[in-house]
Protein backbone atom coordinates (compact mmCIF):
# COMPACT_ATOMS: atom_id res chain seq x y z
CA UNK A 1 0.00 0.00 0.00
CA UNK A 2 1.20 3.47 -0.84
CA UNK A 3 1.77 5.01 2.55
CA UNK A 4 0.63 8.50 1.49
CA UNK A 5 -2.85 7.46 0.38
CA UNK A 6 -5.36 5.97 2.82
CA UNK A 7 -6.80 2.69 1.50
CA UNK A 8 -10.30 2.97 0.07
CA UNK A 9 -10.33 -0.63 -1.03
CA UNK A 10 -8.33 -3.31 0.69
CA UNK A 11 -8.20 -6.64 -1.08
CA UNK A 12 -7.02 -9.37 1.26
CA UNK A 13 -5.93 -12.86 0.23
CA UNK A 14 -8.56 -13.30 -2.47
CA UNK A 15 -8.70 -16.82 -3.81
CA UNK A 16 -11.05 -18.17 -6.44
CA UNK A 17 -11.30 -21.71 -7.69
CA UNK A 18 -13.56 -22.70 -10.57
CA UNK A 19 -14.25 -26.29 -9.60
CA UNK A 20 -10.81 -27.77 -9.26
CA UNK A 21 -9.06 -25.24 -11.48
CA UNK A 22 -7.49 -22.18 -9.96
CA UNK A 23 -8.61 -18.73 -11.00
CA UNK A 24 -6.62 -16.63 -8.55
CA UNK A 25 -4.81 -17.43 -5.34
CA UNK A 26 -3.95 -15.24 -2.38
CA UNK A 27 -4.30 -11.93 -4.21
CA UNK A 28 -3.82 -8.90 -1.96
CA UNK A 29 -3.49 -5.23 -2.80
CA UNK A 30 -5.10 -1.96 -1.90
CA UNK A 31 -6.29 1.14 -3.68
CA UNK A 32 -6.30 4.58 -2.12
CA UNK A 33 -8.65 7.48 -2.77
CA UNK A 34 -7.67 9.31 -5.91
CA UNK A 35 -5.29 6.54 -6.81
CA UNK A 36 -5.08 4.68 -10.11
CA UNK A 37 -3.98 1.08 -9.86
CA UNK A 38 -3.14 -0.70 -13.09
CA UNK A 39 -3.69 -4.41 -13.51
CA UNK A 40 -1.32 -6.25 -15.77
CA UNK A 41 -0.93 -9.89 -16.60
CA UNK A 42 -0.83 -12.34 -19.47
CA UNK A 43 -4.08 -13.78 -20.80
CA UNK A 44 -5.67 -16.04 -18.20
CA UNK A 45 -3.63 -14.59 -15.36
CA UNK A 46 -6.74 -13.79 -13.31
CA UNK A 47 -7.16 -10.05 -13.90
CA UNK A 48 -10.81 -10.27 -14.93
CA UNK A 49 -11.56 -12.67 -12.07
CA UNK A 50 -10.33 -10.10 -9.57
CA UNK A 51 -12.34 -7.32 -11.21
CA UNK A 52 -15.52 -9.43 -11.30
CA UNK A 53 -15.14 -10.26 -7.62
CA UNK A 54 -14.74 -6.55 -6.90
CA UNK A 55 -18.13 -5.76 -8.43
CA UNK A 56 -19.86 -8.76 -6.87
CA UNK A 57 -20.45 -10.78 -10.02
CA UNK A 58 -18.61 -13.76 -8.59
CA UNK A 59 -17.82 -14.77 -5.03
CA UNK A 60 -14.34 -15.56 -3.83
CA UNK A 61 -13.56 -19.04 -2.53
CA UNK A 62 -11.56 -17.37 0.22
CA UNK A 63 -10.40 -13.91 1.19
CA UNK A 64 -12.23 -10.65 1.52
CA UNK A 65 -12.48 -7.11 0.20
CA UNK A 66 -12.68 -4.31 2.73
CA UNK A 67 -14.11 -0.92 1.86
CA UNK A 68 -13.94 1.87 4.42
CA UNK A 69 -13.40 -0.69 7.16
CA UNK A 70 -16.36 -2.88 6.19
CA UNK A 71 -16.39 -6.05 4.18
CA UNK A 72 -17.78 -5.51 0.70
CA UNK A 73 -19.91 -8.63 1.02
CA UNK A 74 -21.90 -7.16 3.94
CA UNK A 75 -23.75 -4.75 1.63
CA UNK A 76 -22.93 -5.61 -1.98
CA UNK A 77 -25.85 -3.60 -3.37
CA UNK A 78 -24.81 -0.46 -1.50
CA UNK A 79 -21.26 -1.01 -2.71
CA UNK A 80 -22.31 -1.37 -6.34
CA UNK A 81 -24.10 1.98 -6.14
CA UNK A 82 -20.67 3.52 -5.57
CA UNK A 83 -18.93 1.64 -8.37
CA UNK A 84 -18.76 2.14 -12.11
CA UNK A 85 -17.83 -1.02 -13.97
CA UNK A 86 -16.77 -1.53 -17.55
CA UNK A 87 -16.41 -5.22 -18.38
CA UNK A 88 -13.82 -6.50 -20.82
CA UNK A 89 -16.40 -8.45 -22.82
CA UNK A 90 -18.93 -5.73 -23.35
CA UNK A 91 -22.53 -6.90 -23.85
CA UNK A 92 -25.14 -4.24 -24.62
CA UNK A 93 -28.81 -4.36 -25.54
CA UNK A 94 -28.48 -4.12 -29.30
CA UNK A 95 -32.16 -3.47 -29.90
CA UNK A 96 -32.12 -0.20 -27.94
CA UNK A 97 -30.89 3.22 -29.01
CA UNK A 98 -28.01 4.57 -26.95
CA UNK A 99 -30.04 7.12 -24.98
CA UNK A 100 -32.69 4.52 -24.06
CA UNK A 101 -30.03 2.07 -22.94
CA UNK A 102 -28.21 4.59 -20.78
CA UNK A 103 -31.54 5.88 -19.46
CA UNK A 104 -32.55 2.34 -18.51
CA UNK A 105 -29.32 1.81 -16.57
CA UNK A 106 -29.73 5.19 -14.86
CA UNK A 107 -33.28 4.31 -13.79
CA UNK A 108 -32.07 0.97 -12.43
CA UNK A 109 -29.39 2.87 -10.53
CA UNK A 110 -32.09 5.19 -9.22
CA UNK A 111 -30.24 8.31 -10.30
CA UNK A 112 -30.80 11.01 -12.88
CA UNK A 113 -27.80 11.05 -15.18
CA UNK A 114 -29.29 13.01 -18.09
CA UNK A 115 -26.77 15.86 -18.00
CA UNK A 116 -23.81 13.57 -17.42
CA UNK A 117 -24.84 11.35 -20.34
CA UNK A 118 -25.14 14.38 -22.60
CA UNK A 119 -21.78 15.78 -21.51
CA UNK A 120 -19.90 12.51 -21.81
CA UNK A 121 -21.44 11.66 -25.18
CA UNK A 122 -20.34 15.06 -26.53
CA UNK A 123 -16.82 14.63 -25.23
CA UNK A 124 -16.54 11.15 -26.70
CA UNK A 125 -18.39 12.16 -29.89
CA UNK A 126 -21.08 9.52 -29.60
CA UNK A 127 -24.57 9.90 -31.05
CA UNK A 128 -27.22 9.13 -28.45
CA UNK A 129 -29.85 8.48 -31.12
CA UNK A 130 -28.07 5.59 -32.81
CA UNK A 131 -29.27 2.03 -32.40
CA UNK A 132 -26.65 0.07 -30.48
CA UNK A 133 -26.69 -2.92 -32.84
CA UNK A 134 -25.56 -0.64 -35.66
CA UNK A 135 -22.62 0.90 -33.81
CA UNK A 136 -18.98 0.14 -34.55
CA UNK A 137 -16.91 -1.65 -31.91
CA UNK A 138 -15.32 1.62 -30.85
CA UNK A 139 -18.67 3.37 -30.45
CA UNK A 140 -20.06 0.46 -28.47
CA UNK A 141 -17.04 0.81 -26.21
CA UNK A 142 -17.91 4.50 -25.76
CA UNK A 143 -21.40 3.45 -24.61
CA UNK A 144 -19.72 1.12 -22.10
CA UNK A 145 -17.43 3.90 -20.91
CA UNK A 146 -20.34 6.32 -20.45
CA UNK A 147 -22.44 3.85 -18.47
CA UNK A 148 -19.48 3.29 -16.15
CA UNK A 149 -18.88 7.02 -15.60
CA UNK A 150 -22.32 8.65 -15.82
CA UNK A 151 -23.25 8.38 -12.12
CA UNK A 152 -19.92 9.83 -10.96
CA UNK A 153 -18.87 6.72 -9.04
CA UNK A 154 -16.36 6.84 -6.21
CA UNK A 155 -14.71 3.72 -7.57
CA UNK A 156 -14.10 2.82 -11.20
CA UNK A 157 -13.36 -0.75 -12.20
CA UNK A 158 -12.35 -0.75 -15.84
CA UNK A 159 -11.40 -3.83 -17.82
CA UNK A 160 -9.66 -2.93 -21.08
CA UNK A 161 -11.37 0.48 -21.21
CA UNK A 162 -9.77 1.80 -24.40
CA UNK A 163 -10.22 -1.38 -26.41
CA UNK A 164 -11.46 -0.32 -29.85
CA UNK A 165 -11.34 3.43 -29.13
CA UNK A 166 -9.72 5.67 -31.71
CA UNK A 167 -6.74 7.82 -30.60
CA UNK A 168 -8.94 10.93 -30.16
CA UNK A 169 -11.39 9.09 -27.95
CA UNK A 170 -8.51 7.47 -26.07
CA UNK A 171 -7.05 10.89 -25.33
CA UNK A 172 -10.42 12.23 -24.20
CA UNK A 173 -10.93 9.17 -22.04
CA UNK A 174 -7.52 9.72 -20.40
CA UNK A 175 -8.53 13.32 -19.65
CA UNK A 176 -11.83 12.22 -18.11
CA UNK A 177 -10.00 9.65 -16.04
CA UNK A 178 -7.57 12.29 -14.81
CA UNK A 179 -10.48 14.54 -13.81
CA UNK A 180 -12.19 11.75 -11.91
CA UNK A 181 -8.97 10.89 -10.19
CA UNK A 182 -8.49 14.53 -9.19
CA UNK A 183 -11.98 14.46 -7.70
CA UNK A 184 -10.88 11.56 -5.50
CA UNK A 185 -12.19 8.54 -7.40
CA UNK A 186 -10.29 5.30 -6.91
CA UNK A 187 -9.58 3.66 -10.23
CA UNK A 188 -8.68 0.07 -10.97
CA UNK A 189 -7.75 -0.36 -14.57
CA UNK A 190 -6.80 -3.48 -16.45
CA UNK A 191 -5.26 -3.09 -19.86
CA UNK A 192 -3.08 -4.80 -22.40
CA UNK A 193 -1.92 -1.39 -23.57
CA UNK A 194 1.07 -1.08 -21.26
CA UNK A 195 1.78 2.49 -22.28
CA UNK A 196 -1.71 3.43 -21.17
CA UNK A 197 -1.18 1.88 -17.75
CA UNK A 198 2.25 3.44 -17.51
CA UNK A 199 0.87 6.89 -18.23
CA UNK A 200 -2.07 6.84 -15.83
CA UNK A 201 -1.33 4.35 -13.05
CA UNK A 202 0.22 5.31 -9.74
CA UNK A 203 0.86 1.71 -8.93
CA UNK A 204 0.73 -1.53 -10.84
CA UNK A 205 -0.37 -5.01 -9.83
CA UNK A 206 1.22 -7.67 -11.99
CA UNK A 207 -0.54 -11.02 -11.98
CA UNK A 208 0.60 -14.29 -13.46
CA UNK A 209 -0.99 -17.71 -13.17
CA UNK A 210 -3.50 -16.30 -10.69
CA UNK A 211 -0.92 -14.96 -8.27
CA UNK A 212 0.39 -11.48 -7.62
CA UNK A 213 3.96 -11.20 -8.87
CA UNK A 214 4.38 -7.70 -7.58
CA UNK A 215 2.57 -4.54 -6.47
CA UNK A 216 4.60 -1.40 -6.87
CA UNK A 217 4.78 2.03 -8.42
CA UNK A 218 5.74 2.24 -12.09
CA UNK A 219 8.95 4.02 -11.20
CA UNK A 220 9.98 1.44 -8.62
CA UNK A 221 9.25 -1.33 -11.07
CA UNK A 222 11.45 0.32 -13.68
CA UNK A 223 14.25 0.44 -11.17
CA UNK A 224 14.06 -3.29 -10.75
CA UNK A 225 15.20 -4.22 -14.21
CA UNK A 226 18.49 -3.71 -15.94
CA UNK A 227 19.06 -1.27 -18.77
CA UNK A 228 21.74 -1.55 -21.38
CA UNK A 229 23.89 1.57 -21.75
CA UNK A 230 26.56 2.09 -24.35
CA UNK A 231 29.13 4.80 -23.62
CA UNK A 232 31.50 5.93 -26.38
CA UNK A 233 34.77 7.71 -25.57
CA UNK A 234 37.56 9.14 -27.68
CA UNK A 235 40.11 7.65 -25.31
CA UNK A 236 40.62 4.57 -23.18
CA UNK A 237 38.87 4.77 -19.80
CA UNK A 238 39.15 2.69 -16.65
CA UNK A 239 36.53 -0.10 -16.72
CA UNK A 240 36.69 -0.67 -12.95
CA UNK A 241 35.44 2.86 -12.32
CA UNK A 242 32.14 1.84 -13.89
CA UNK A 243 31.94 -1.67 -12.46
CA UNK A 244 31.92 -0.17 -8.97
CA UNK A 245 29.06 2.28 -9.71
CA UNK A 246 25.78 1.62 -7.81
CA UNK A 247 23.31 -0.41 -9.85
CA UNK A 248 25.82 -1.69 -12.40
CA UNK A 249 25.48 -5.42 -12.91
CA UNK A 250 27.95 -5.94 -15.69
CA UNK A 251 30.49 -3.79 -17.52
CA UNK A 252 32.59 -4.79 -20.51
CA UNK A 253 34.72 -3.02 -22.99
CA UNK A 254 34.09 -2.98 -26.74
CA UNK A 255 35.79 -1.26 -29.63
CA UNK A 256 33.90 2.03 -29.23
CA UNK A 257 33.80 2.29 -25.47
CA UNK A 258 32.02 0.57 -22.62
CA UNK A 259 28.84 -1.45 -22.59
CA UNK A 260 26.98 -1.63 -19.25
CA UNK A 261 24.00 -3.44 -17.84
CA UNK A 262 22.67 -1.40 -14.94
CA UNK A 263 19.52 -0.71 -12.95
CA UNK A 264 18.19 2.85 -12.84
CA UNK A 265 18.95 5.48 -11.67
CA UNK A 266 22.13 5.84 -13.70
CA UNK A 267 23.19 9.08 -12.06
CA UNK A 268 26.60 7.89 -10.93
CA UNK A 269 27.41 6.20 -14.23
CA UNK A 270 26.53 9.35 -16.13
CA UNK A 271 28.54 11.53 -13.75
CA UNK A 272 31.62 9.36 -14.27
CA UNK A 273 31.10 9.26 -18.00
CA UNK A 274 30.91 13.05 -18.11
CA UNK A 275 34.18 13.28 -16.16
CA UNK A 276 35.78 10.85 -18.62
CA UNK A 277 34.68 13.01 -21.55
CA UNK A 278 31.99 10.72 -22.99
CA UNK A 279 31.19 11.58 -26.62
CA UNK A 280 28.04 9.47 -27.10
CA UNK A 281 25.54 7.75 -24.81
CA UNK A 282 23.02 5.22 -26.11
CA UNK A 283 20.57 4.02 -23.49
CA UNK A 284 17.33 2.11 -23.61
CA UNK A 285 15.19 3.28 -20.70
CA UNK A 286 13.07 0.43 -19.33
CA UNK A 287 9.37 0.70 -20.01
CA UNK A 288 6.58 -0.96 -18.13
CA UNK A 289 6.51 -3.45 -20.98
CA UNK A 290 10.12 -4.39 -20.23
CA UNK A 291 9.31 -4.78 -16.55
CA UNK A 292 6.22 -6.83 -17.33
CA UNK A 293 8.06 -9.12 -19.72
CA UNK A 294 11.01 -9.50 -17.40
CA UNK A 295 8.86 -10.40 -14.40
CA UNK A 296 6.53 -12.79 -16.20
CA UNK A 297 9.41 -14.49 -18.05
CA UNK A 298 11.34 -15.06 -14.85
CA UNK A 299 8.16 -16.34 -13.20
CA UNK A 300 7.57 -18.77 -16.06
CA UNK A 301 11.20 -19.87 -15.92
CA UNK A 302 10.94 -20.54 -12.19
Amino acid sequence: MNGEVPAAIDVRHLTKFYGSSRGIEDVSFSVGRGEVVGFLGPNGSGKTTVLRILVGLISPTAGDVWVDGRTLFADPTGWRARVGYLPGDLGLYGNLVVSDYLGLLARLRGVNCGDAILRLSRRLELSLEARIAGLSKGNKQKVGVIQALMHRPEVLVLDEPTSGLDPIAQREFALILAERRAEGASIILSSHVLQEVESVADRVVILDHGRVLTVDSVESLRRRIETEIHLSFDRLVDLDTYTSCPGVVEARRDEAGIRLRAKIPHTEVLRRAALDGVVKIVSHEPTLADVFLSLTRSNHAS
Binding site: R52, L57, I58, T77, Y85, P87, G91, Y93, L104, L108
Partner: protein
Protein backbone atom coordinates in the same frame (compact mmCIF):
# COMPACT_ATOMS: atom_id res chain seq x y z
CA UNK B 1 -39.18 -5.01 -5.01
CA UNK B 2 -40.48 -5.05 -8.57
CA UNK B 3 -38.06 -3.38 -10.99
CA UNK B 4 -40.43 -1.48 -13.29
CA UNK B 5 -37.77 -0.67 -15.94
CA UNK B 6 -37.12 -4.42 -16.24
CA UNK B 7 -40.85 -5.14 -16.52
CA UNK B 8 -41.20 -2.63 -19.34
CA UNK B 9 -38.07 -3.82 -21.14
CA UNK B 10 -39.01 -7.51 -20.84
CA UNK B 11 -42.45 -6.89 -22.29
CA UNK B 12 -41.20 -4.47 -24.93
CA UNK B 13 -38.52 -6.95 -26.11
CA UNK B 14 -41.11 -9.69 -26.58
CA UNK B 15 -44.31 -7.89 -27.49
CA UNK B 16 -44.34 -9.23 -31.03
CA UNK B 17 -43.86 -12.77 -29.80
CA UNK B 18 -46.52 -12.27 -27.14
CA UNK B 19 -48.93 -10.93 -29.76
CA UNK B 20 -48.21 -13.95 -31.96
CA UNK B 21 -48.95 -16.36 -29.10
CA UNK B 22 -52.26 -14.57 -28.41
CA UNK B 23 -53.27 -14.53 -32.08
CA UNK B 24 -52.32 -18.19 -32.35
CA UNK B 25 -54.54 -19.06 -29.39
CA UNK B 26 -57.44 -17.04 -30.83
CA UNK B 27 -56.98 -18.72 -34.23
CA UNK B 28 -56.86 -22.18 -32.69
CA UNK B 29 -59.99 -21.59 -30.61
CA UNK B 30 -61.78 -20.07 -33.62
CA UNK B 31 -60.96 -23.00 -35.90
CA UNK B 32 -61.94 -25.62 -33.32
CA UNK B 33 -65.17 -23.83 -32.44
CA UNK B 34 -66.11 -23.33 -36.06
CA UNK B 35 -66.14 -27.11 -36.45
CA UNK B 36 -68.46 -27.67 -33.48
CA UNK B 37 -71.79 -26.95 -35.28
CA UNK B 38 -70.97 -29.79 -37.69
CA UNK B 39 -70.20 -32.14 -34.80
CA UNK B 40 -73.40 -31.11 -33.02
CA UNK B 41 -75.50 -31.58 -36.16
CA UNK B 42 -74.04 -35.04 -36.76
CA UNK B 43 -73.85 -36.10 -33.15
CA UNK B 44 -75.31 -39.56 -33.75
CA UNK B 45 -72.58 -40.38 -36.25
CA UNK B 46 -69.85 -39.00 -33.94
CA UNK B 47 -71.07 -40.99 -30.98
CA UNK B 48 -70.68 -44.14 -33.05
CA UNK B 49 -67.18 -43.13 -34.05
CA UNK B 50 -66.01 -42.23 -30.52
CA UNK B 51 -67.49 -45.39 -29.05
CA UNK B 52 -65.48 -47.39 -31.54
CA UNK B 53 -62.23 -45.97 -30.08
CA UNK B 54 -60.45 -48.04 -27.39
CA UNK B 55 -61.52 -47.13 -23.87
CA UNK B 56 -58.02 -46.02 -22.91
CA UNK B 57 -57.90 -43.70 -25.91
CA UNK B 58 -61.24 -42.21 -24.90
CA UNK B 59 -59.94 -41.77 -21.36
CA UNK B 60 -56.71 -40.06 -22.43
CA UNK B 61 -58.49 -37.60 -24.69
CA UNK B 62 -61.60 -37.24 -22.51
CA UNK B 63 -63.88 -38.42 -25.24
CA UNK B 64 -66.62 -39.69 -23.00
CA UNK B 65 -68.99 -36.91 -24.03
CA UNK B 66 -67.53 -35.73 -27.32
CA UNK B 67 -70.66 -34.25 -28.92
CA UNK B 68 -71.70 -32.07 -25.98
CA UNK B 69 -70.27 -28.51 -26.02
CA UNK B 70 -68.18 -29.07 -22.90
CA UNK B 71 -67.10 -32.54 -24.02
CA UNK B 72 -66.09 -31.30 -27.46
CA UNK B 73 -64.05 -28.37 -26.14
CA UNK B 74 -62.43 -30.55 -23.46
CA UNK B 75 -61.38 -33.11 -26.05
CA UNK B 76 -60.24 -30.78 -28.78
CA UNK B 77 -58.65 -28.03 -26.71
CA UNK B 78 -58.06 -28.99 -23.10
CA UNK B 79 -56.97 -32.62 -23.31
CA UNK B 80 -53.55 -31.89 -24.79
CA UNK B 81 -53.11 -29.18 -27.43
CA UNK B 82 -53.73 -26.00 -25.44
CA UNK B 83 -52.10 -27.29 -22.21
CA UNK B 84 -49.05 -28.19 -24.33
CA UNK B 85 -49.03 -24.67 -25.80
CA UNK B 86 -49.10 -23.24 -22.26
CA UNK B 87 -46.35 -25.60 -21.14
CA UNK B 88 -44.18 -24.50 -24.05
CA UNK B 89 -44.94 -20.82 -23.53
CA UNK B 90 -44.25 -21.14 -19.80
CA UNK B 91 -40.99 -23.03 -20.32
CA UNK B 92 -39.84 -20.54 -22.96
CA UNK B 93 -40.31 -17.57 -20.62
CA UNK B 94 -39.09 -19.44 -17.56
CA UNK B 95 -35.86 -20.67 -19.11
CA UNK B 96 -34.80 -17.14 -19.97
CA UNK B 97 -35.55 -15.55 -16.57
CA UNK B 98 -31.87 -14.93 -15.85
CA UNK B 99 -30.00 -16.98 -18.44
CA UNK B 100 -31.01 -14.66 -21.29
CA UNK B 101 -28.78 -11.92 -19.87
CA UNK B 102 -25.99 -14.35 -19.09
CA UNK B 103 -26.00 -15.92 -22.54
CA UNK B 104 -26.15 -12.60 -24.36
CA UNK B 105 -23.24 -11.20 -22.34
CA UNK B 106 -25.28 -8.34 -20.87
CA UNK B 107 -25.32 -9.78 -17.35
CA UNK B 108 -21.98 -8.25 -16.31
CA UNK B 109 -23.21 -4.68 -16.57
CA UNK B 110 -26.71 -5.50 -15.34
CA UNK B 111 -25.59 -7.24 -12.16
CA UNK B 112 -22.93 -4.65 -11.45
CA UNK B 113 -25.81 -2.19 -10.91
CA UNK B 114 -27.16 -1.62 -7.39
CA UNK B 115 -30.06 -4.03 -7.82
CA UNK B 116 -30.36 -7.28 -5.92
CA UNK B 117 -30.43 -10.55 -7.75
CA UNK B 118 -33.59 -11.40 -5.79
CA UNK B 119 -35.39 -8.33 -7.15
CA UNK B 120 -34.24 -9.00 -10.68
CA UNK B 121 -35.19 -12.68 -10.61
CA UNK B 122 -38.54 -11.94 -8.95
CA UNK B 123 -39.33 -9.26 -11.52
CA UNK B 124 -38.56 -11.49 -14.47
CA UNK B 125 -40.40 -14.39 -12.87
CA UNK B 126 -43.48 -12.24 -12.33
CA UNK B 127 -43.31 -10.91 -15.90
CA UNK B 128 -43.45 -14.52 -17.14
CA UNK B 129 -46.41 -15.20 -14.86
CA UNK B 130 -48.18 -12.06 -16.13
CA UNK B 131 -47.63 -13.15 -19.73
CA UNK B 132 -49.19 -16.54 -18.94
CA UNK B 133 -52.06 -14.81 -17.19
CA UNK B 134 -52.62 -12.59 -20.21
CA UNK B 135 -52.56 -15.49 -22.68
CA UNK B 136 -54.86 -17.59 -20.48
CA UNK B 137 -57.24 -14.61 -20.29
CA UNK B 138 -57.16 -14.33 -24.08
CA UNK B 139 -57.95 -18.05 -24.27
CA UNK B 140 -60.84 -17.69 -21.80
CA UNK B 141 -62.25 -14.65 -23.60
CA UNK B 142 -62.00 -16.42 -26.97
CA UNK B 143 -63.94 -19.36 -25.54
CA UNK B 144 -66.60 -17.09 -24.05
CA UNK B 145 -67.03 -15.18 -27.32
CA UNK B 146 -67.16 -18.38 -29.38
CA UNK B 147 -69.51 -20.13 -26.96
CA UNK B 148 -71.81 -17.12 -26.92
CA UNK B 149 -71.93 -16.95 -30.71
CA UNK B 150 -72.57 -20.70 -30.98
CA UNK B 151 -74.96 -20.69 -28.03
CA UNK B 152 -73.09 -23.52 -26.31
CA UNK B 153 -74.71 -22.94 -22.94
CA UNK B 154 -71.53 -23.20 -20.88
CA UNK B 155 -71.31 -20.80 -17.92
CA UNK B 156 -68.56 -18.16 -17.72
CA UNK B 157 -67.36 -19.75 -14.49
CA UNK B 158 -66.41 -22.92 -16.32
CA UNK B 159 -64.33 -20.98 -18.81
CA UNK B 160 -62.67 -19.17 -15.92
CA UNK B 161 -61.88 -22.60 -14.44
CA UNK B 162 -60.34 -23.73 -17.71
CA UNK B 163 -58.25 -20.55 -17.94
CA UNK B 164 -57.12 -20.98 -14.34
CA UNK B 165 -55.98 -24.56 -14.94
CA UNK B 166 -54.11 -23.54 -18.09
CA UNK B 167 -52.50 -20.64 -16.24
CA UNK B 168 -51.37 -22.99 -13.47
CA UNK B 169 -50.11 -25.49 -16.02
CA UNK B 170 -48.09 -22.80 -17.76
CA UNK B 171 -46.89 -21.39 -14.45
CA UNK B 172 -45.65 -24.79 -13.31
CA UNK B 173 -43.75 -25.21 -16.56
CA UNK B 174 -42.45 -21.62 -16.30
CA UNK B 175 -41.19 -22.12 -12.77
CA UNK B 176 -39.55 -25.48 -13.51
CA UNK B 177 -37.71 -23.99 -16.48
CA UNK B 178 -36.79 -20.98 -14.35
CA UNK B 179 -35.24 -23.05 -11.59
CA UNK B 180 -33.13 -25.02 -14.06
CA UNK B 181 -32.26 -21.93 -16.12
CA UNK B 182 -31.25 -19.87 -13.11
CA UNK B 183 -29.26 -22.76 -11.63
CA UNK B 184 -27.28 -23.45 -14.78
CA UNK B 185 -27.35 -20.06 -16.51
CA UNK B 186 -28.26 -21.90 -19.71
CA UNK B 187 -31.56 -21.34 -21.48
CA UNK B 188 -31.38 -24.50 -23.58
CA UNK B 189 -30.96 -26.69 -20.50
CA UNK B 190 -33.84 -24.96 -18.75
CA UNK B 191 -36.15 -25.34 -21.73
CA UNK B 192 -35.01 -28.82 -22.75
CA UNK B 193 -35.11 -30.40 -19.31
CA UNK B 194 -38.52 -28.92 -18.50
CA UNK B 195 -40.06 -30.14 -21.72
CA UNK B 196 -38.47 -33.57 -21.18
CA UNK B 197 -39.98 -33.75 -17.68
CA UNK B 198 -43.40 -32.67 -18.95
CA UNK B 199 -43.37 -35.06 -21.89
CA UNK B 200 -42.36 -37.92 -19.57
CA UNK B 201 -45.19 -36.86 -17.26
CA UNK B 202 -47.60 -36.83 -20.18
CA UNK B 203 -46.56 -40.33 -21.27
CA UNK B 204 -47.08 -41.52 -17.70
CA UNK B 205 -50.45 -39.77 -17.51
CA UNK B 206 -51.54 -41.16 -20.89
CA UNK B 207 -50.55 -44.73 -20.17
CA UNK B 208 -51.82 -44.79 -16.60
CA UNK B 209 -55.20 -46.26 -17.63
CA UNK B 210 -53.35 -49.10 -19.36
CA UNK B 211 -50.42 -49.83 -17.05
CA UNK B 212 -51.05 -50.64 -13.38
CA UNK B 213 -47.69 -49.34 -12.15
CA UNK B 214 -48.22 -46.02 -13.93
CA UNK B 215 -51.74 -45.85 -12.58
CA UNK B 216 -50.40 -46.29 -9.04
CA UNK B 217 -47.91 -43.43 -9.33
CA UNK B 218 -50.05 -41.16 -11.50
CA UNK B 219 -51.61 -39.34 -8.51
CA UNK B 220 -48.12 -37.94 -7.87
CA UNK B 221 -47.69 -36.89 -11.49
CA UNK B 222 -48.01 -33.12 -12.07
CA UNK B 223 -49.49 -33.85 -15.49
CA UNK B 224 -52.37 -35.62 -13.76
CA UNK B 225 -52.91 -32.49 -11.67
CA UNK B 226 -52.77 -30.35 -14.80
CA UNK B 227 -54.83 -32.46 -17.20
CA UNK B 228 -56.83 -34.75 -14.96
CA UNK B 229 -59.52 -32.23 -14.04
CA UNK B 230 -62.64 -31.39 -16.04
CA UNK B 231 -62.86 -27.62 -15.70
CA UNK B 232 -65.68 -27.25 -18.26
CA UNK B 233 -67.91 -29.83 -16.60
CA UNK B 234 -67.10 -30.62 -12.99
CA UNK B 235 -64.97 -27.53 -12.30
CA UNK B 236 -61.51 -27.47 -10.79
CA UNK B 237 -60.26 -29.87 -8.18
CA UNK B 238 -58.95 -27.80 -5.27
CA UNK B 239 -56.45 -30.50 -4.36
CA UNK B 240 -54.98 -30.33 -7.86
CA UNK B 241 -54.93 -26.55 -7.73
CA UNK B 242 -53.13 -26.65 -4.38
CA UNK B 243 -50.59 -29.15 -5.67
CA UNK B 244 -50.08 -27.11 -8.83
CA UNK B 245 -49.45 -24.01 -6.71
CA UNK B 246 -46.77 -25.86 -4.78
CA UNK B 247 -44.64 -26.37 -7.92
CA UNK B 248 -44.18 -22.64 -8.68
CA UNK B 249 -43.74 -21.83 -5.01
CA UNK B 250 -41.03 -24.44 -4.45
CA UNK B 251 -39.38 -23.69 -7.79
CA UNK B 252 -39.35 -19.94 -7.12
CA UNK B 253 -37.63 -20.49 -3.76
CA UNK B 254 -35.18 -22.88 -5.46
CA UNK B 255 -34.46 -20.34 -8.21
CA UNK B 256 -33.77 -17.62 -5.65
CA UNK B 257 -31.47 -19.79 -3.60
CA UNK B 258 -29.44 -21.02 -6.54
CA UNK B 259 -29.16 -17.67 -8.31
CA UNK B 260 -28.25 -15.68 -5.23
CA UNK B 261 -25.40 -18.01 -4.39
CA UNK B 262 -23.76 -18.68 -7.70
CA UNK B 263 -21.41 -16.79 -9.95
CA UNK B 264 -22.79 -14.80 -12.86
CA UNK B 265 -21.70 -16.50 -16.05
CA UNK B 266 -19.80 -14.73 -18.81
Amino acid sequence: MLLSPIVRKSLWDRWKSLLAWCLGIVALVSVQMSVYPTVRDTSADWEGVTESFPEAFQEIFRMEDYTSPAGYLSTELLSFVVPFIFMTLGATWGARVTSEEEESGTADILFSLPITRRDYLSTRWIVGALVLLAVSAVFGISLIVGATILDMGIGFGHFANASLMLFLTGLSSHSLAAVVGTSTGKRSIGLGSTMAILIAGFVLYSLAPLVDVFDAINPFNPLQWMLGTRPLTTGVDLDDVSLLLLIPLASYIGSLRSFQHRDVRV
